[in-house]
């Protein structure tokens, strides 16, 4: 697990750095997607998360998989590749601070099925992801991540 200026980036995940999301390959043809530690820091304490409903219609890369709101920001969780939503995490819809507390575990937002089987190949991993997020943080003026009480990564 990489620690970049107090921002956690688990090694086993793939990342879309520009969209600031992580992707976990579940090994059964589905992937979980959520906000990175950096994304939850930028957003601040979340008050609402509205994931897209599961359905057969494909969501195009760059479109919204969820809308998140904090006291200081509202915006989309962008889709890293073409996919269909097969499940959404009701826990984050009930209590969006789960994303702040547990961005990589309890705070997954949607479970998706990629349209193309090699969709994850274009995502960043390992040191390449760390280097890309270092640049992202500098560009977006994020000196370090902020973790709320109860943060478990």
């Amino acid at each position: 697990m990489a620690d970049l200026n107090h921002c956690i980036l688990p090694d086993e995940l793939a990342y879309h750095v520009e969209f600031n999301v992580w992707v976990r390959d579940n090994g059964d043809g589905t992937c979980d997607i959520g906000m990175t530690d950096i994304a939850q820091t930028l957003a601040g304490a979340l008050i609402h998360c509205r994931p897209k409903q599961p359905g057969p219609k494909a969501v195009a890369a760059g479109k919204s998989l969820a809308t998140v709101e904090s006291g200081k920001w509202v915006g989309p969780v962008k889709c890293p590749f073409d996919c269909t939503v097969v499940a959404r995490n009701e826990a984050v819809e009930k209590d969006a601070t789960v994303i702040n507390k547990s961005p990589y575990k309890q705070g997954w937002i949607v479970r998706v099925q990629p349209v193309k089987p090699d969709a994850l190949a274009a995502l960043a991993r390992g040191q390449a992801a760390v280097d890309a997020f270092r640049d992202y943080m500098a560009k977006n003026n994020v000196p370090a991540c902020i973790h709320c009480e109860g943060f478990d990564g």
Binding site: R50, S64, T67, K72, W73, V74
Partner: protein, 123 residues
């Protein structure tokens, strides 16, 4: 959400600051949900597009300025246009408008867009 289009009429102005942040916030949410949002400023709402007004206006003491809400909405892709008659009402010209404004439109444009958009909000 199906891709939706929202037309938002903003008629409230600096005299009621508590009404001046929500339209921009709602428009930003629409775009975050892959919809399209356009705000039309009429009557006193046009004053929010006047240079020097929104940068000091806050809906709630200690909160973000209305200009910050405007800029977030612009960054999200929200379109903002002002009514030509409202310009005259407030003795303004296009030169008085902030750069976030996308132009001046007439009443027929508003009617057309009202017919085209799926949803209309009014503040």
């Amino acid at each position: 959400m199906e891709e939706a289009s929202f037309l938002i009429f903003m008629t409230s102005g600096p005299a009621t600051p508590q009404r001046c942040a929500t339209p921009f916030y709602m428009a930003t949410v629409v775009t975050a949900m892959d919809g399209q949002a356009e705000i039309v400023f009429q009557i006193d709402g046009i004053l929010l597009m006047k240079r020097g007004v929104a940068e000091t206006l806050v809906a709630k003491e200690g909160g973000k300025t209305v200009l910050e809400f405007i800029r977030e909405a612009k960054q999200a892709g929200v379109t903002m246009k002002v009514c030509s008659a409202a310009l005259q009402l407030h003795d303004m010209t296009e030169a008085d408008l902030i750069p976030e404004c996308d132009g001046v439109i007439g009443a027929a444009y508003m009617v057309d867009r009202s017919l085209e958009c799926k949803h209309i909000l009014s503040y």
